[in-house]
Amino acid sequence: MNRLLQDTGIFEDYLDKMKKIYTVDVDAIAKVDQFWIGINVFISFAILALFCYWLIRFFAFLAACRSDRASFRDSDFWKRMGIVGLILFLIMSGSMYILFVQLYAVAVEAGWA
């Protein structure tokens, strides 16, 4: 299909226009910076609270295993903790943005603008 469209010669211009990635315009957001401060503070505290909670649950689980109240092989627990740990890592370290930046770089390499 793509070949067919290209053969007509008309679609090529459009194909170039299509290969463009639109990212969040940071300048536009910076203009209303005060607006975000509140929510940023909330997110920071919430993520900290989640991290503390995660640690508490983790050590509580270890203690429970020691006193034989829980099984160390509780795969469900590890799965849940693992996922939340990953989320924590992605958000707290900012790796999420790095991930997207990497994806963007890959796309640019593939001919996107």
């Binding site: 226009k17 463009k20 940071v26 957001i29």
Partner: protein
């Protein structure tokens, strides 16, 4: 003498003047005025005058040179004469044009064309930038900014939601699977939303360009760069308008006016094509920009509330908008192609002789209708529901489409004997039907919500919390306990409503005559002539009358019957001073008679007469007479006037009784009625809030036939959860209600259209509506109620004074066939020609202790029943006395026959009933009672199965491998492996059950056994 000299003098001087000029050399007129006939357009007309004037001025100079050269021409005609003749000629031509209308025609055409040109001009830029191709919205700076902001908002909200979800995950109260997947997908989608929109936008434009290239087939045109007027011109003159420079000079309206049909074609084109397409292009532009900006919000919104319909609704609107843009450009391309064909004298339009520009205009109308039907209307629907953009309806539409396609495939399969295809088709159809049902429920629930919202019954905060109420979906929920929310006893004052007999227009004389003529009645007057007159003389006299008058009368002895307006004939009788006596004068129409002196209406009860009466009641002021002795009626009326009853403004006390306007009769009935001195006790029952099963319940009781007595004692209220039961029937009601409940499974509907039932205190999704279901209404509302632990304790409260609707009013049909008991002497017609309205005074609402929410027609007993009782009576189940178009009550009336009202003589008095305590034990889960294991047992069984499987695989594999190595036969190895695996699996499972089973059973028994104290109580 002086006068004669003067005339002679003037003649002489004129002669001298002529002779003197005759020696001046003759000029040959240059034929510059030939251009005069060449004008064809109004615009050129202006130029024509200009050129004519310059022509004539140049003619004199050229003329002189011609004479000097001694050019030919009549030498005897002087130049100024030729000039004069030319001017006279041109004047005559102008005069001719003026008289024939050509001048005016051209002038008006010119003006209209110029004006039309002005109207088109402002929209030309829109056409050049947005009509053929949708503009690349993602490239617009303000769209990027706004998108960035909305993207950032949705990003922040989603991160907050993910963190909250993280808490739930760590706590272990949520399963990570689908939730995380939803979030991940929606997060990425909202990030790339503008890019995706750009791809669709530009791709569609590219597709449009290809389509145009293949339609127009004129290479060398850059479609993206066409001027606005060229876009429109090419729809009139084909693709040449884009390439040929000669068209540049002409304006669009000039080109249109030169087409067949002239100025009318121009108007058709401007109105049907240019105007409609302008509006559509504008809406397309706004919709695209709005959708691009809001896209991240809709996607993240879908993730937050865990539902697909906002995304579906968004996609639906977006796809429709881009498709609408494509359709518009396709219309353009097709028009250009048609014009090209017509200019080249080929194509079907040329063969059929259809004027192409007119056809294109009509096509513009068709295209705009299509756009309205398939784009604007869905767009409007989506906008009316801005949260989900009508996503439920989209799902339903998809499901229905899939269903029909599946059915079609299945039919094809059966036709050609391909069972596989048939099977695939029918399974496809089934699945699609499920999808459609789900979508339908989604839509209906959403619509119900919107209705609630429009009533303004819910606060903004409630709405907001409702939007997230789906989080209740997998929560532990107890089934409802208070099956009767509240009961209260009410006293219903037993009033015999006033009776009405007799119908009248309360009008007479010329005003009545006018009314009657208007409504198509024919007048008939019987006149008794003086007994002394001779019949033969009279008939001879009558035969001399004009034919029209003669046909009006019929003579029978001394009795003269006049049809139609009797005035002329009575005047004739007066003129010969013949004694006569007008016996009666009526108006007739289809069995309805109206007395001309009193306006009294009588009917023979036939079908035709009913029709006439209905018409009369809806179009004219009709009055009914209160069936009370005059003195009593007068007292009651005066009392009501003192109380400032509204109806008294439309009532009139006459010698023959009190007449009340038919429209206010319902209000008058109770005011004029008499108390029987008794009160009826009625229980007002409030069913679980938001439930919707009341109608079904009453229907099923009526259908079963065993509750006739109970049904006659029940009436429904305004809301779907309120009903009134006669106190003596309340126990029967309770029993019947319990019975009904126990047979049914209560279910709730979520906003996303899922059906929920509660089993083992957990709300689970039920595939479809249960066969014997009980519609409990909105799941979210129920969950919230439960969540807040709203106590559904029964309350007894004082009866609020509620506005009531009185008993049924007598129908005009009945009123018209009941005779007035007393014959009353004639009222002075002059006094009552116009019905006087009393002064406008308001009265405070009367305090009624009557509790009744009567629906007007429900009070009317079934037609057959009444007909049996009283054959004379005209029976109807129509609403009584409603003006045409007044449907305020009709809205409430359902087609289900409802029980009658509770008013009747000898109601047994009852003491206030003790209010039944809320029945907590009657959980409505009549499911098949199979032995259900408790959670612990289930867990053990699950683990046992896992253990068994693991062991089986392990040992089976070992044994099979060993056998394969030792024997070398694959078959033996497999069978040995299976056997060993099975054995090991069973052993492992048994081991697990022995280990944990006892524990689980014991935990079960401790839970189920009632406590000692409780048992004792029982």
């Amino acid at each position: 003498m002086n006068v004669k000299f003067l005339i002679w003098g003037v003649c002489l001087s004129l002669w001298l003047l002529f002779v003197g000029f005759a020696y001046v050399p003759v000029v040959e007129a240059s034929p510059s005025s030939v251009a005069l006939t060449d004008a064809s357009y109004g615009i050129k007309q202006n130029m024509m005058f200009a050129s004519a004037s310059t022509g004539s001025s140049s003619s004199s100079s050229s003329g002189q040179t011609a004479t000097e050269g001694g050019g030919g021409g009549a030498w005897y005609i002087p130049e100024w004469v030729t000039d004069l003749m030319e001017k006279v000629d041109s004047m005559l031509q102008t005069f001719k044009d003026l008289m024939s209308g050509k001048l005016i025609y051209d002038a008006i055409n010119g003006v209209v064309i110029l004006w039309a040109d002005d109207t088109v001009e402002p929209v030309l830029d829109l056409y050049s930038k947005s009509f053929l191709f949708s503009p690349q919205v993602a490239e617009m700076a303000f769209v990027q900014n706004a998108w960035s902001i909305s993207m950032w908002i949705s990003c922040a909200i989603m991160i907050v939601a993910i963190i909250l979800m993280g808490f739930a995950l760590v706590k272990g109260s949520k399963a990570p699977g689908p939730l995380l997947k939803n979030f991940a997908i929606c997060f990425v989608l909202s990030l790339v939303s503008l890019t995706a929109i750009n791809i669709i936008n530009v791709g569609m434009n590219g597709f449009t360009a290809i389509t145009m290239d293949s339609l127009v087939k004129d290479s060398g045109i850059n479609y993206t760069n066409i001027q606005g007027d060229d876009v429109l011109k090419s729809m009139v003159a084909g693709s040449k308008a884009l390439t040929d420079a000669t068209f540049k000079e002409q304006s669009l309206t000039e080109m249109l006016a030169a087409e067949k049909g002239g100025i009318f074609t121009m108007f058709a084109f401007l109105i049907f094509t240019v105007d409609t397409m302008t509006v559509m292009t504008l809406i397309k532009l706004l919709a695209l920009i709005g959708l691009a900006i809001l896209s991240p919000l809709y996607i993240s919104g879908a993730a937050l509330i865990g539902r697909i319909d906002p995304v579906l609704g968004f996609l639906n609107v977006f796809v429709r908008t881009t498709a609408a843009g494509y359709l518009m450009s396709f219309y353009w391309g097709f028009s250009v192609k048609l014009q090209n064909d017509t200019i080249n004298q080929q194509g079907w339009m040329y063969d059929l002789g259809i004027p192409s520009t007119l056809f294109i205009s009509v096509m513009g109308l068709v295209v705009s209708f299509l756009l309205y039907r398939h784009w604007l209307k869905p767009l409007g629907y989506a906008l009316s529901d801005p949260v989900t953009l009508g996503g439920g309806a989209v799902l339903e539409g998809f499901g229905n489409f899939g269903k029909y396609m599946g059915e079609f495939v299945s039919h094809v399969g059966s036709q050609f004997g391909i069972p596989g295809l048939q099977k695939v088709g029918s399974s496809w159809s089934d699945k699609s039907k499920q999808v459609a049902d789900h979508g339908k429920r989604m839509r209906e629930e959403r619509e119900r919500q919107m209705r609630d919202r429009s009533k303004g019954s819910r606060s903004y905060r409630q709405r907001f919390s409702d939007a997230h109420a789906d989080s209740h979906a997998d929560m532990t929920l107890e089934p409802p306990t208070g099956w009767i929310q509240s009961v209260e006893q009410l006293d219903d004052d037993d009033i015999t409503p006033a009776q009405f007999k007799g119908l009248s227009l309360l009008d007479s004389g010329t005003s009545l005559q006018r009314t009657m003529n208007r409504t198509g009645f024919t007048q008939q007057t019987s006149v008794r002539l003086d007994p002394d007159t001779n019949e033969a003389n009279i008939s001879e006299w009558i035969s001399k009358w004009p034919k029209a008058l003669r046909n009006q009368v019929a003579l029978d002895g001394q009795q003269l019957t006049i049809a139609g307006d009797p005035t002329a004939i009575l005047k004739k009788l007066d003129a010969i001073e013949l004694g006569y006596d007008v016996e009666a004068s009526h108006y007739h129409k289809n069995g309805v008679t109206i007395q001309s002196d009193t306006g009294r209406v009588q009917a023979d009860g036939s079908e035709a007469s009913k029709h006439v009466l209905n018409q009369l009641a809806s179009e004219e002021d009709t009055f009914q007479r209160v069936d009370l002795p005059h003195a009593e009626a007068k007292d009651a009326f005066n009392q009501a006037k003192k109380d400032r009853a509204e109806w008294t403004k439309h009532a009139e006390l006459r010698d023959n009784g009190l007449w009340v306007h038919s429209d206010v009769i319902e209000e008058a009935m109770y005011d004029l009625g008499q108390s029987r001195g008794t009160t009826t006790s009625v229980m007002r029952v409030e069913l679980p809030s938001n439930s919707r099963f009341l109608d079904d319940m009453l229907e099923s009781w009526a259908a079963s036939g065993q509750y006739t007595e109970l049904i006659s004692a029940i009436e429904t209220g305004d809301s779907a959860t309120e009903l009134f039961v006669k106190a003596d029937q309340y126990e029967a009601f309770e029993q019947a209600y319990d019975q009904y409940r126990k047979q049914r499974k209560p279910y709730w509907t979520t906003r996303s259209g899922d059906i929920k039932v509660i089993e083992d205190n957990i709300a689970i999704t039920y595939g479809s509506v249960p066969t014997h279901g009980m519609d409990m209404g909105s799941f979210e509302k129920f969950a919230k109620q439960r969540h807040r632990k709203e106590d559904t304790a029964t309350k007894v409260s004082a009866m609020p004074n509620k506005e009531t609707k009185p008993d049924e009013a007598p129908h005009v049909w009945e009123a018209a066939i009941t005779p007035i008991p007393a014959v009353i002497p004639n009222v002075d017609a002059a006094k009552t020609q116009h019905y006087p309205l009393p002064s406008q005074i308001q009265r405070p609402k009367r305090k009624l202790t009557l509790k009744s929410t009567e629906r007007v027609n429900t009070a009317t007993p079934p037609v057959e029943e009444v007909a049996k009782k009283d054959r004379q009576m005209i029976v109807t189940d129509r609403l009584p006395m409603r003006r045409a178009g007044d449907s305020s009550d009709a809205v409430k009336v359902s087609n289900v026959a409802r029980p009658a009202r509770l008013i009747g003589p000898n109601q047994p008095k009852r003491k206030l009933k003790a209010i039944p305590a809320p029945r907590t034990n009657s959980t409505p889960t009549p499911v098949a009672e199979k032995p259900v294991k408790n959670a612990a047992q289930k867990e053990v069984a699950k683990q046992a199965a896992t253990d068994g499987m693991k062991a089986a695989v392990k040992s089976g594999a070992v044994v099979a491998g060993a056998t394969l190595v030792s024997s070398g036969s694959l078959k033996t190895a497999a069978s040995q492996g299976l056997k060993a695996g099975g054995k090991a699996g069973i052993q492992a499972a048994q081991k697990r059950v022995v280990k944990d089973g006892a524990k689980a059973v014991s935990s079960d028994s401790t839970k189920l056994l009632p406590k000692r104290g409780e048992r004792k109580k029982k």
